[in-house]
C-alpha cells in the first residue's frame, strides 16, 4: 500500500517540488534559533539597509534596523504552527459534526447542517477579524478564530462521504452483525473517508497560513511573535522606498502556499487513483 502511494505521488512532478519546498520551510523554521540566536525584534544595523549589500544581512534590514532574513525564519515557525494547529482543530470540530449528520440523517442532519450554514453565511475573513478583536490578539485566539471559520467545509465533505458510504453493503453487514452505531462510524465508515479528508486538510493548511498573514497584516497578529503578515503590514507605508521589506515575506507566503497546494494535488492523485487525471 505504502509503496504504491509513493509511486503514484512521485509521478506528479509538481507535488514532489512542493514537498521539497515545504521541507525546506520546515527545516528553516526548526533551526531558526540556531541560525539566528538573536531575537528577530532586535535592531542590528542601520534602518533601510538594502539586500545583498552586507553578507551578514543578506536580505537587508527594515524600517528600524531589524534583520529581515531572521524575521523570515522566525515567521516560518508562526505560519507553520498556525496552519497546522488550526487545521487540526477544525478537523476535530468538522469531522464529528459531518459524521453524525451523514450517519443519522433526518432530524440530526437538519439540525447540524443548519448550524453549519450559520457559519458559512458569514464571510470567513470578517468573522475571523471579529473573533480575534474580541479575544485580544494572541497566537491562541488566532488559531481559534481560523479554526472556527474553516471547519464548515470539513463537515460538509465528511457528511457527503458518510451519506454515500452508509449505503454500502459492508456497512449493512456490520449493522446485521450487531455492531453499535459508534463502532460502525468509527471502524467501518471513518477509515474509508480518510483520503478526501487528507487532501482537503493539506489545502486547509495553506488557507490558514494565508488567513494568519492577512490578520497580522491588519495588525491583529500576536504582538510577541514575528510573522510574515506582520512584516508586510509594517512595510506597506514604505513600499516605494524599500521594496524588499514586503517582497521577501510575500515570496515566502507565496512559495509555502503554492507548495501546500501542489502537495494537495499530489495527495489527490495518490489517494484517489481512479480520479487522477489521465495520461500521466
Amino acid at each position: 500500500m505504502m509503496g504504491d502511494f509513493w509511486k503514484r505521488f512521485s509521478r506528479n512532478r509538481g507535488a514532489v517540488i512542493g514537498l521539497f519546498i515545504l521541507l525546506l520551510v520546515v527545516v528553516v523554521a526548526a533551526i531558526a534559533p540556531l541560525l539566528f540566536p538573536d531575537s528577530p525584534w532586535r535592531m542590528v544595523q542601520r534602518p533601510f539597509l538594502p539586500p545583498f549589500e552586507m553578507s551578514e544581512y543578506p536580505l537587508g534590514t527594515d524600517t528600524i534596523g531589524r534583520n529581515v532574513i531572521s524575521g523570515l525564519a522566525y515567521g516560518a515557525q508562526v505560519s507553520l504552527l498556525v496552519g497546522l494547529v488550526s487545521t487540526v482543530v477544525s478537523l476535530l470540530i468538522g469531522i464529528p459534526i459531518g459524521a453524525l449528520a451523514g450517519y443519522f440523517g433526518g432530524f440530526v442532519d437538519d439540525a447540524l447542517m443548519r448550524f453549519t450554514e450559520l457559519f458559512q453565511t458569514v464571510p470567513n475573513f470578517a468573522l475571523a477579524i471579529v473573533l480575534v478583536a474580541i479575544f485580544e490578539p494572541s497566537i491562541y485566539s488566532i488559531i481559534a478564530a481560523i479554526a472556527i471559520v474553516s471547519w464548515p467545509p470539513v463537515a460538509r465533505l465528511v457528511r457527503g462521504e458518510f451519506l454515500s458510504l452508509r449505503q454500502r453493503e459492508y456497512v449493512e453487514a456490520a449493522t446485521l452483525s450487531g455492531q453499535s452505531h459508534a463502532a460502525i462510524i468509527w471502524r467501518q465508515i471513518l477509515p474509508n473517508t480518510l483520503s478526501p479528508i487528507i487532501v482537503l486538510a493539506s489545502l486547509m493548511v495553506a488557507t490558514a497560513i494565508l488567513l494568519e498573514s492577512s490578520l497580522s497584516f491588519l495588525g491583529l497578529g500576536d504582538p510577541n511573535l514575528m510573522s510574515w503578515g506582520y512584516m508586510i503590514g509594517a512595510a506597506r507605508t514604505v513600499i516605494r522606498q524599500a521594496w524588499w521589506l514586503s517582497f521577501f515575506p510575500g515570496v515566502a507566503i507565496l512559495l509555502t502556499v503554492l507548495a501546500l497546494n501542489l502537495i494537495g494535488e499530489g495527495l489527490n492523485d495518490a489517494l484517489n487513483p481512479r480520479l487522477a487525471r489521465k495520461g500521466k
Binding site: R168, E169, E172, A173, A174, S177, A183, N192
Partner: protein
C-alpha cells in the same frame, strides 16, 4: 427444432463463400505495465461474415470486449494495439487516422453497449439523438433526419414510435432504451454490428425480445454481427459461430452446434459443465417445523412528493406470506422491481415493514427495536450480492469475521480462533486472516462474505443475488459450497435471485414475485415442469438456451 437447425447450418455453409465484412488477423493488444498479464488480446484472428452472428464468449477478464473496442477505436488510454491487422474492406483500421476512423464509425460498423441508460444522453430527446448520427456525417436535412428517426424506431419495434421519438431516455423502459440504441446503430446501415453484452443488464423476458430483434434485423439486412457475451444460454439462442476466449486467446472456434454439443477444449468443457441445468429435481417435501413464518408483509415507498405535486406510491412488497421450514431452501425469483430484494431486506430489518408479521422461531421480528433487535438479529444473517462492495476495504479479513461475535460479547482471542475455523469451513486458507479484501478474487471474497454470515451461527440465511456478480465457473463453486454448508450446519436458506437456472439448481421451493406480490409458490419441480401462473410461464419460456437444452434432454 431440428429442421431449424439444419436450415441454420445450411445458411452458414452458404455464406462460407461470401467475402468477410471484416477480418481480424493476429491482433495483439497490450495492457499497461503492472497489469496481471502483458497482453489483453493475444494473437486473435477471426472473420466477420455477412449474414452470420459470431458470438465471442468468455469470463470476465478474458479480453472479449477489448477486441470489439479495438475495432471501433475505443480502447482505453493506456491500452494499445501492438500487432496484427483489423481489415474492413481493404482498410486496416489500426493504421487509419482519427478522421478516417470517425468516418467509418456508424457507416461501416456500429456498436451497441451493455448499459442502455448510460449510453444515451439523458438530456436529449430520442429523435434528436438518432438525428445526431446523420448530422455527424453531414447527411440529410434536419427534417429528413427526424423522419428517418421515426422510421428506425418503428423498425426496432418500439410501441408508438412517434411518441417515443419525443421522449427523453428516462421515460423509456430498459428494453425500449436498448431498442433506441439499436436504432441509432442501424441509422447508417452498417455492414457490421458489434454488440457488447447488449442484454446483460436486461430482465429475462426483455432479453428474449431483444435477442429476437437482433436476429431479425441481422437476417433482414444481411449484416455481420459480433456478439460478445458471458452467457452460454444467449449463445445457444443467437449464435451461428462461437469463439471461446480465455486469457486473451481464442481457445476454441466453431459452429454453434459443434462447440456446445461437442466442445473440444478443456476450458470450454469446464464452462459448459458449470452452467446450472434447467431442471429441478423432484425433491421430497421437507416436513420439519417452520423456522421462519412471514404473514401479510407490506412495504410501500413514497417518492417525489412535494407541496405541489402528489408523490408516487410504489407498493414494493404487497401482502407477502410464506413459511420456511428448518433446513429448507426457498427461492424468491422475479425480475428487477418485483420487490424480491425488498422482501429480503424486510426480513433482516434493513428495511422496516409497514405491516405484517415476521416470526423467527416464534418471535416476531417485524417491529423489534434497539437492543432487543440487535440481539435477535444474529439469528438471521445475509449474504450480499456484490463481493467488492460487501467487504470493508480497510479491514483485514480476521477483523471482518470477528467483529460480529465480538459485538455480541465474545472475547477477542476466541473470535479470531473462530474466524480461522470459518475460513477453513468455506474453503479458504487460514492465513487469509491477516490479509485485506483486495488481495482476493471475486469468488474468494464471496466466500469471505459467506463466512461472515456464518460467524454468528444463524438459523436462517438470506442470500440476496449472492452469485449474480460471479463468472459461471466460480458461481458453480460457490453454489456447491452453499449446498454443502447448508447440509452440514442444518441452515434454512432464502435464496433471492433473478436467475431461474440458479434457482432450479438450489431451491426446494420457489416463490415467483411480480410487482410486489407472490404470484406462484410451490416445489421447484412443479414450478419448472408445470407452471400454473401465466407470468411464471413467460419467465421460464424466456430463459435463453432453453429450447436447445430441452431438445438435448429429449434426444
Amino acid at each position: 427444432m431440428h429442421s431449424i437447425r439444419a436450415l441454420r447450418a445450411r445458411a452458414s455453409k452458404g455464406t462460407m463463400m461470401a467475402t468477410p465484412a471484416a477480418r481480424i488477423e493476429h491482433l495483439k493488444i497490450a495492457l499497461p505495465e503492472g497489469a496481471d498479464r502483458a497482453l489483453a488480446v493475444d494473437d486473435v484472428s477471426f472473420d466477420l461474415v455477412p449474414g452470420e452472428i459470431l458470438c465471442i464468449v468468455g469470463e470476465s477478464g478474458s479480453g472479449k470486449s477489448m477486441s470489439a473496442n479495438a475495432m471501433m477505436g475505443l480502447l482505453p488510454d493506456l491500452v494499445r494495439p501492438v500487432g496484427g491487422r483489423i481489415l474492413v474492406g481493404d482498410k486496416d483500421i489500426l493504421t487509419l487516422s482519427d478522421k478516417e476512423r470517425r468516418d467509418m464509425r456508424g457507416r461501416a460498423m456500429a456498436m451497441i453497449f451493455q448499459e442502455p441508460m448510460s449510453a444515451l444522453n439523458p438530456l436529449m430527446k430520442v429523435a434528436d439523438q438518432i438525428a445526431e448520427v446523420y448530422e455527424a456525417h453531414g447527411l440529410l436535412t434536419p427534417r429528413e433526419r427526424k423522419d428517418r428517426a421515426v422510421q428506425l424506431l418503428t423498425e426496432v419495434g418500439i410501441p408508438e414510435p412517434e411518441k417515443a421519438a419525443r421522449a427523453y431516455p428516462f421515460q423509456l423502459s430498459g428494453g425500449q432504451r436498448q431498442r433506441v440504441m439499436i436504432a441509432m446503430a442501424l441509422a447508417l446501415e452498417p455492414k457490421i454490428l458489434i454488440a457488447d453484452e447488449p442484454t446483460t443488464a436486461l430482465d429475462v423476458t426483455t432479453q428474449a425480445q431483444i435477442l429476437d430483434l437482433i436476429r431479425h434485423l441481422q437476417r433482414e439486412r444481411d449484416m455481420a454481427v459480433m456478439f460478445i457475451t458471458h452467457d452460454f444460454g444467449v449463445v445457444a439462442e443467437i449464435a451461428d459461430r462461437v469463439a471461446v476466449m480465455q486469457f486473451g486467446k481464442i481457445v476454441e472456434e466453431g459452429s454453434v452446434d459443434d462447440v456446445l454439443d461437442h466442445p473440444q477444449h478443456d476450458y470450454t468443457r469446464k464452462l459448459i459443465a458449470a452452467i446450472p441445468r434447467l431442471s429441478a429435481d423432484r425433491r421430497a417435501a421437507i416436513e420439519k417445523a417452520p423456522i421462519l413464518a412471514v404473514e401479510g408483509l407490506n412495504k410501500t415507498y413514497h417518492t417525489g412528493g412535494s407541496m405541489f405535486a402528489k408523490g408516487r406510491v410504489v407498493h414494493a412488497v404487497n401482502d407477502v406470506s410464506f413459511v420456511l421450514a428448518d433446513g429448507e431452501t426457498l427461492g424468491i425469483v422475479g425480475e428487477s422491481g418485483s420487490g424480491k430484494s425488498s422482501v429480503g431486506r424486510c426480513l433482516v430489518r434493513l428495511l422496516d415493514p409497514d405491516s405484517g408479521v415476521v416470526k423467527l422461531g416464534g418471535v416476531d421480528m417485524a417491529y423489534m427495536k434497539g437492543e432487543e433487535l440487535r440481539r435477535e438479529r444474529k439469528r438471521i444473517q445475509m449474504i450480499f450480492q456484490d463481493p467488492y462492495a460487501s467487504l470493508n476495504p480497510r479491514s483485514r479479513v480476521g477483523r471482518i469475521l470477528s467483529e460480529g461475535p465480538m459485538a455480541h460479547g465474545k472475547p477477542k482471542d476466541e473470535a479470531y480462533q473462530r474466524a480461522s475455523e470459518l475460513l477453513e469451513l468455506v474453503g479458504l486458507d487460514a492465513s487469509a486472516i491477516d490479509r485485506y479484501p483486495h488481495e482476493f478474487s471475486g469468488g474468494q471474497r464471496q466466500r469471505i462474505g459467506i463466512a461472515r454470515a456464518l460467524a454468528l451461527e444463524p438459523e436462517v440465511i438470506i442470500a440476496d443475488e449472492a452469485v449474480s456478480a460471479l463468472d459461471v465457473s466460480i458461481q458453480a463453486q460457490v453454489l456447491d459450497l452453499l449446498a454443502d454448508l447448508k447440509a452440514r450446519l442444518n441452515l434454512a436458506l432464502v435464496f433471492i435471485t433473478h436467475d431461474l437456472r440458479v434457482a432450479a439448481q438450489v431451491c426446494d421451493r420457489i416463490a415467483v414475485m411480480q410487482k410486489g406480490r407472490i404470484v406462484e409458490l410451490g416445489p421447484a419441480y412443479d414450478i419448472f415442469n408445470d407452471p400454473r401462473d401465466a407470468y411464471t410461464r413467460s419467465l421460464i419460456e424466456a430463459i435463453p438456451g432453453r429450447e436447445k437444452e430441452l431438445a438435448a434432454m429429449t434426444g
